[in-house]
């Protein structure tokens, strides 16, 4: 999509992670936002409410998060890039329609600025407790794609990328922020419009008479006719055939569901992102994401300063987990440390992948605070007199 001149705030800014996320959406061509106020995601809605009317976009505050995601899906099937943003309780309410987006193959972006749970939990404090919900929260088998920014700059960049991925693969994409990244104010550099590329959904390449709404080639991503485009679109939450007809039998399901899963798993190059730091000779590998990635970076650098061979694996896409990249980075390590602000969620995936080849140590937290680099260092076996320069 070519960006209208003057819409992207090209330049260097001092802004909140939440605001950077909103600017990332606008940069990527998002022109529809539906949401419901919730701490600590509200600033995203506020930014969109301020920005969208002036650039030909639509902001609407819905009656709840269920309505918000439903409106986002509706806007997207009519051809407008759309986003909603919420936190834990609202994310729970969105789960059913997240599945609808997956089933109907509707591009859209859902942001969860995570706080401490369960339930109302710690509304104003940090958590990373929704990571498994991001993977498995909606009913039925589906493939989630989730980004985890560690800074306001990444909140901008990964929100742009989330739109690109959702358009390219015709599927909802999650941006799993956390309260600290959302409420942290840092420098954010916004490139010129179009510089960070975003892909677009494929529109029908054939006339309506030949259009088969869910026919795919090797790419596995169907072309998408829009509401009002003259294609007599038919889309359903039920199991459907290539023509979009509801056919609720096992044979149709056996074609549809594996294709939806493979569509995501076979396009890792579209979305997979991670950062490696000092992994070449690492004996201990720290795995951390989001704000905990910042603590882990501090811990790893402190360990290196003392000559300890500690490396960092920081997934920017947590789902699907960059499995091969992790295994490469962990090939010769003696220990893997997984740090996250929950009681052990992504650690389950890392343990599954490491499969007993070395110990996996969890650094956990019930939530409310950022994990300190000292705690991570300790888990790396580097606790003697550890001091981390802040």
């Amino acid at each position: 999509m070519t960006e209208e001149k003057g819409v992207a705030l090209t330049g260097s800014h001092f802004m909140l992670g939440d605001q950077a996320c909103a600017e990332g959406a606008i940069y990527a061509g998002c022109r529809f936002f539906a949401g419901y106020p919730i701490t600590p995601a509200t600033e995203i809605a506020e930014r969109m409410a301020e920005r969208l009317p002036g650039i030909g976009g639509q902001y609407i505050q819905m009656e709840d998060e269920i309505g918000s995601i439903a409106a986002v899906l509706g806007a997207s099937v009519a051809g407008v890039r759309a986003m909603t943003a919420t936190s834990g309780p609202g994310f729970s309410l969105m789960q059913e329609n997240l599945g609808l987006g997956f089933m109907m193959e509707v591009p859209c972006v859902i942001v969860n600025v995570q706080r401490g749970g369960p339930s109302t939990g710690l509304p104003t404090s940090v958590g990373q407790q929704d990571m498994m919900q991001a993977r498995f929260g909606s009913h039925g088998d589906y493939a989630a794609i989730a980004y985890t920014p560690s800074s306001p700059q990444e909140a901008f960049e990964l929100t742009v990328d989330a739109f690109s991925t959702s358009e390219r693969l015709r599927t909802p994409v999650l941006v799993m922020m956390d309260e600290v990244v959302g409420h942290m104010r840092e420098r954010v550099v916004i490139p010129e419009a179009g510089k960070r590329t975003t892909l677009s959904r494929r529109l029908p390449s054939v006339p309506p008479s030949e259009y088969r709404p869910f026919r795919v080639d090797d790419d596995l991503v169907p072309e998408m006719a829009l509401a009002g485009g003259g294609y007599s679109v038919r889309m359903t939450s039920l199991t459907h055939d290539e023509l979009g007809r509801a056919v609720t039998d096992t044979a149709t399901q056996a074609v549809l569901l594996p294709r939806l899963l493979r569509k995501v798993s076979e396009h890792r190059e579209v979305y997979e992102q991670y950062e490696l730091r000092h992994v070449k000779d690492a004996e201990v590998l720290v795995v951390a994401y989001g704000i905990t990635g910042r603590s882990a970076t501090g811990a790893v650098e402190a360990a290196r300063a003392r000559g300890a061979r500690v490396g960092l694996f920081r997934p920017k896409t947590v789902w699907p987990f960059p499995a091969e990249a992790l295994l490469r980075a962990a090939r010769s390590v003696r220990r893997v440390v997984v740090a996250e602000i929950n009681m052990g969620q992504v650690a389950l995936e890392v343990e599954r992948l490491i499969a007993g080849k070395c110990p996996v140590v969890r650094v956990t937290s019930p939530g409310g605070e950022v994990l300190s680099p000292e705690l991570i260092l300790e888990a790396c076996g580097q606790d003697r007199g550890a001091r981390v320069r802040r």
Partner: protein, 306 residues
Amino acid sequence: MTPANEEHRVRTPETESAPPHRHPLDSVLRSEVLPHIWCPGCGIGVALGAFLQGLDRAGIPLDKRVIVGGIGCSSRVVYYARADAYHTTHGRAIPFATGIKLANPSLAVTVFAGDGDLFAIGGNHFIHAARRNMDLLVVCINNFNYGMTGGQAGPTTPHDARTTTTPNGNFEFPFNLPQLAAAVGAVYVARWTTLDVRRLRDCFTEAAGKQGFRFVEVLAPCPVSFGKNNDIGSGLDEMDYYRGLEHIWGSSGGLPNRVEVRENGDLAGTEISLHRPIIVGKFVDRARPTFLDNYRAVAYPKRKAP
């Protein structure tokens, strides 16, 4: 289908070799996916026919028609109408339709769903879309129960009526949908039965020609569930009930007409009861700015963006 009706199907060598019969609605239906899933005697097909004729008379072009359904028998109309059609999740058709309308305001967006979908699980969306005066036509097929799951009580089940979950009669009170819609801001509110096919068609024509949140309640027989549980009989028997020819439903016989057409729009006494005539008619027809009118007038920035 009753045996009496079967007799009307005359089979002769001429008709068997004749080209396939063209139905007047073939051009606006996806006739290739027929037959439909609805039970014999169900009123939804009648409502759909009236709706499609109404859109034709209102001059809504095919490529501007969008229909959004939730989950349930009534929402299945999305499969049969020729339009951009979305069969979504239970109760969420209105917000999904809201997104479509706001993304492309040139589209004529209709929500077609049942009483349970729109007023139980989706009730919150209904009242807020009406409050905003979102430019949507919302059609509720009210058959007084959850038909697709086999006839459970719902938010419009009349007091005392029997369903599979109220075997001794409904101990709750139902919504009065026209009153509810009027109270929360709908600009057009009407109620008709599937007996009133022409009035229903004309109502859809009128509603489709207006802007804002428009609500049409269609009372429709559900003979296999609600009809059976309440000894109403077949779909045709329920039509007779609407006409007032028989006193089948409940115990308070003796009323000359079971359905009365109200001409003056008065909403008083429009609650549906087993023991009183059903009031139908047009109750609200007013104008006020739509959500988009107000958005354009108020939300657009007066000062420079940050």
